[in-house]
Amino acid sequence: MSIVRTNDQGKAQVLGNIAKWIVLIFFFTFTFIPLLWLLISSFKTNLELQLKPFAMPKIWQFTNYANAVKISGLPRLFLNSIMISTVSTGLTMIVTSMAGFVFSRERFPFRQGLLNLILAGVLVPIIALMAPYFRLTNALGIYDSIWALIFTYTAINIPISTFLLYGFMRTLPRELEEAAIMDGTGFVGRYWRIILPLTKPGMVTAGTFVFLFSWNEFIYAMLLTSRPAVRTLQLGIRFFTSQFFTDYTSMFAAIVLTMLPTIIIYIVLHEQIIKGMTSGALKG
């Protein structure tokens, strides 16, 4: 009887493994095929892409990559995007972690009203703010500089990031702070030494959101800059579209090139990144 049960368990384990691998292969394929398609398409002519989008290229068009670098000036735009996205993410994290701390841990008059006012910003479509931001950056004398984008992206992301960090900080046990107060820790110390380290997973989530927004944003990058020296990658990729024609294959080559540094950084640092994302989660 026990032998039969062992055989049944073995079969169940094998079936479970097969099911697991089917699911894994399905999602791997679902994720990987579009990237592979992008890579292969970046070596085609536009006509090949339009007529046989899933066929291999007849002649591999390496010139698409030369076009990508030559036309859009990718290296400079890449540096600008890194700078703008990183600094605006950092500023947003500083501002909203403080806001989240105060709103979630302190009691003061109009607290709920102020919080609601900030969080209501999540509901405002960013396109509705184009004219005010344009006027503001001109008035501040930062139009056509990376600061116009850094401050705008920071401001735009404050509501959603505050919402995420406020929600996260609210779940932290109050006893931790009380113990720190007993030890003589002040207001700043509670924020800096107690709450902030415990909020790391929440900040990774909010920071990722802000970084991706800043990295992919196009409308304000176009509106608030005019010189190529201060522009971002998203504008560079649009150099392959014109009023009546899009050079998709060169654009794909540009997209592949812009993905490469990120992939290389992830391959080199993936252990540290995963460690950083999960370490805080185990503490709370």
């Binding site: 002519t45 006509l47 007529l51 184009m130 990376i146 380290p197 176009m222 010189r227 024609f245 998709y248």
Partner: protein, 422 residues
């Protein structure tokens, strides 16, 4: 945490310290030396066919005016994004020094403000003679000409004469009945008659077919009629025939401009519609089809014939100023860029057509000559449907057309969908 803070601090220091991130100091320095610096944001950059000749002309102008005027081109690669940016700048009261003005009803509303430079005085002189008069009239509202007509478009029927010849058709059919008979011959030879599309933001190819049909049915003022006029359903009935009985490709429903143009360039289809900006593309990607392409007006459907669909694509405008030197500099540039020889240079390089009178040179692209021919032979020119109706209607057009050709809507229901979107 400390390393993150340190990294962020370092990036902040770099951003502050590196001078290239500061706001254009060199331009201000040029202004201080007495040189007038004019910004010229434009989408004629990157892959746009006019990017090369425009850059060359700007360089020539700047060289001719060294120390006096400098026009700085600001590249804005996305046309829709550019228009959003210009509209935001105009609504904020900060127009760029010189810019590409979208000659649509929305942008013309800025004529009522004093934000745009008024060129009425300049157009009362000999400069006006350089332009095709109708475009100056179209760019003048309430007696004021606040933008300079520049690029225009005409969108005739393109057909592959080699495929027609293969099917035993010697000339382009004059009427729709003859066209449908010719389509049968093409199909008998394994050729799909027309490129069509219901996708994209405006179902461009099919929307232009519809506009041609409307012109033939209702004459020059056809699309000035309200959508409740039966002519719109009548035109839809005709357009549906071009989607029936194998008269277009299977992927036309849902297909975009890439599908429509791609089939024509691959010689899968024999008939197509587009503007002169497509010349460079077809010349490069499908030289045999380019060599075989001829142009025509659409087959006659109703009372009118020989009509074309055309419109102003881009005007040039400038920020109003009280400074007479800046104004003179802007006017000098406008006159330079619209000189017939300079326009001819852009036209021959890019394949575009312009609102300025000029003669194409002997080396001009034969297809571009065809455009000039059909334009001059047109009995009348109407705009496209997109020139008469709001964006919401144009965006609905493709959806309604798909429903029509899939027998999910009658021609009357097709029109009702457009009315509902209005």
């Amino acid at each position: 945490m400390k390393s993150i803070v340190r990294g962020l601090a370092l990036l902040l220091i770099i951003a502050i310290a590196v001078p290239v991130f500061a706001n254009g100091g060199s331009d201000a320095a040029m202004e201080e030396t007495g040189e007038i610096v004019l910004s010229f944001p434009t989408f004629w950059v990157g892959q746009d066919s006019k990017s090369g000749p425009i850059a060359t002309l700007l360089e020539t102008f700047n060289n001719e005016n060294t120390g006096e005027i400098k026009v700085l081109l600001e590249p804005n690669p996305d046309t829709d994004g550019y228009r959003d940016k210009i509209n935001t700048q105009l609504s904020s009261g900060r127009a760029p020094d010189i810019f590409v003005f979208n000659p649509d009803p929305t942008t013309f509303q800025y004529y009522d403000s004093d934000i745009l430079m008024d060129f009425t005085d300049e157009f009362s002189g000999s400069w006006r003679g350089n332009f095709v008069e109708s475009y100056v009239v179209d760019s003048t509202k309430n007696g004021a000409t606040k933008s300079v007509p520049f690029e225009i478009a005409i969108t005739p029927i393109w057909y592959n004469a080699d495929l027609f010849k293969k099917a035993g058709i010697s000339e382009f059919p004059a009427t729709m009945d003859e066209f449908l008979a010719a389509a049968d011959k093409l199909k008998a030879n394994g050729i799909v008659p027309t490129s069509q599309m219901t996708g994209g933001s405006n179902a461009w190819t099919s929307m232009l077919w519809y506009s041609h049909i409307m012109g033939s049915l209702g004459g020059p003022d056809a699309m000035k009629k309200p959508l409740t006029d039966p002519i719109y359903a009548e035109a839809a009935t005709v357009l549906k025939k071009l989607y029936s009985d194998g008269n277009t490709t299977r992927d036309a429903v849902g297909g975009d401009a890439g599908v429509s143009g791609g089939h024509y360039m691959a010689a899968d289809t024999a008939v197509f519609i587009n503007g002169p900006w497509y010349i460079g593309r077809i010349r490069g990607d499908a030289p045999e089809v380019h060599a075989a392409t001829m142009l025509s007006s659409a087959p006659k459907v109703g009372e009118y014939e020989g009509n074309q669909v055309g419109f102003m694509l881009s005007n040039l405008a400038a920020a109003n100023t009280d400074d007479p030197r800046r104004r003179a500099a802007v006017v000098k540039f406008m006159k330079f860029i619209t000189e017939p020889d300079n326009v001819k240079f852009i036209s021959e390089s890019a394949g575009s057509l312009f609102a300025i009178k000029y003669e194409l040179g002997a080396d001009a692209d034969p297809l571009q000559r065809e455009f000039v021919r059909v334009s001059s032979e047109a009995t009348f020119v109407t705009g496209g449907l997109h020139n008469y109706f709001p964006v919401s209607v144009i965006q609905e057009f493709g959806q309604a057309l798909a429903a029509l050709v899939l027998d999910e809507a009658t021609p009357e229901e097709f029109v009702q969908m457009l009315i509902d979107a209005q």
